[in-house]
Amino acid sequence: MAASGQPMFVRGLGATSRLIIWLLVGLAMVALDSRYHALEGLRASLALVTQPLRHAARAPFEMADEIVGFFTRHRALQSERDTLLQERAELHAEINASRDLVREYSELRRLAALDSRQELRGVTASLLYQGHDWFAQRITLDRGEKSALRAGLPVVGADGLVGQISRVYAASSEVTLVTNRDQLTPVFIERTGQRGLVAGSGRSGLLELRHMTVQTDVREGDLLMTSGVDRVYPAGIPVARVTRVSRSPANPYLRIECLPLAGIERDRVVRVLMPVAVEEKP
């Protein structure tokens, strides 16, 4: 027996009880976060705290890039400039042609009394942090509320659709990639105009075109572009290319695997698209 005046339990709770208490707290947090989204404040403050460290971690690599770029050979730069000049001339010709088409197109749309296409502007943002992608295919960008970003905006890379902004902090934002399991993207097949839904698979480099009946005309190599049906993504952004089409006798739908075009591994810089101004229609 303990002597009088001496506490019986000197060390407080035992390890096992502490483990159980913490696990219960953890379970409560999982429930609060996944069911009620009640912990966004904690996320925002963690974003604020880790921001400088993330920037500090990127800085040496960016500097190294610049230094390497500085010593790029003169000859290489010249040849690159020549190619670019040539490309520019070609593009100019194409732009002139397409301007004419745009004018004609908008006139026709006006005649047909259809809504004009929403004009978009882009904000350039660069990759700030990429985490493990076992459960959430997400990346963090270095722009946030200060650049007028908000949740829901589409994010595109040089080659195609990257994803959609899902959380916005003060000076950073989280993008849910198209490969995320919960991410659905309305698309159409460029060759046929057939509309469909692309869903993430939870693995990088694999998307699925869902609910296409076996009669659908879809082949390997078909390009999928956003259809603009959901009014989230503007129409015509390349999303993925069909890599495999197979069917199982038990399933009324085709199994269509696609490869996302935007390479988040390759692009360090992306563009966030936002509408210029919302016109009020009577």
Binding site: L46, D133, F135
Partner: protein, 168 residues
């Protein structure tokens, strides 16, 4: 005199823990990509378990939980997933502590491999139950790289001031 020295030692050890924490977050934020990202060791977990082994009165389950939340935030997953896994890691560390202190860095890290694997599997299980089935078994790979890193860190710290080992 003695208490002053002890206080100084205390403050110094807090400072080195804080530095280690900053270093861990910094290392985690480096632009890992491709296979490097898949194999990236879990620096925060390493810090937690190292703290549990060598500073059990300072680093306990509370710290494990807090750093687990940070890890959850970093990966953009549901809060509590890594936190619960780290707490169970700290618990196992509490049970194995006296045994692990007997070994040199190599044997220590070999014995810690199952602990790291267990923590990763806990992350996998909680994520599975709470959100969605995981994508592949790649989640176990960081356990291996964390083990290798533990060996490196333990070796360096041992060479630095002969800590972490009681050889007969």
């Amino acid at each position: 005199m003695v208490s002053d020295k002890a206080a100084k030692h205390e403050a110094g050890s807090w400072r080195s823990l804080a530095m280690a924490l900053l270093l861990a977050i910094w290392l985690q934020s480096l632009p890992w990509s491709g296979i490097g990202l898949v194999m990236r060791p879990d620096f925060l977990l390493l810090l937690v378990l190292y703290g549990c082994l060598h500073h059990p009165h300072r680093v306990g389950m509370g710290w494990a939980f807090a750093l687990g939340l940070l890890s959850d935030f970093q990966d953009g997953v549901v809060f509590g997933q890594h936190a619960m896994a780290y707490v169970s890691g700290a618990y196992v560390m509490h049970l194995l502590r006296l045994r692990l202190l007997q070994f040199d860095p190599l044997r220590q890290s070999i014995q810690l491999l199952p602990v790291f694997v267990m923590v990763q599997l806990a992350v996998l299980l909680i994520g599975w139950l709470a959100v969605a089935p995981p994508s592949g078994w790649g989640i176990v790979l960081p356990a291996v790289s964390t083990t290798v890193l533990w060996y490196g860190v333990a070796l360096i710290i041992q060479l630095w001031h002969g800590k972490g080992m009681r050889r007969e």
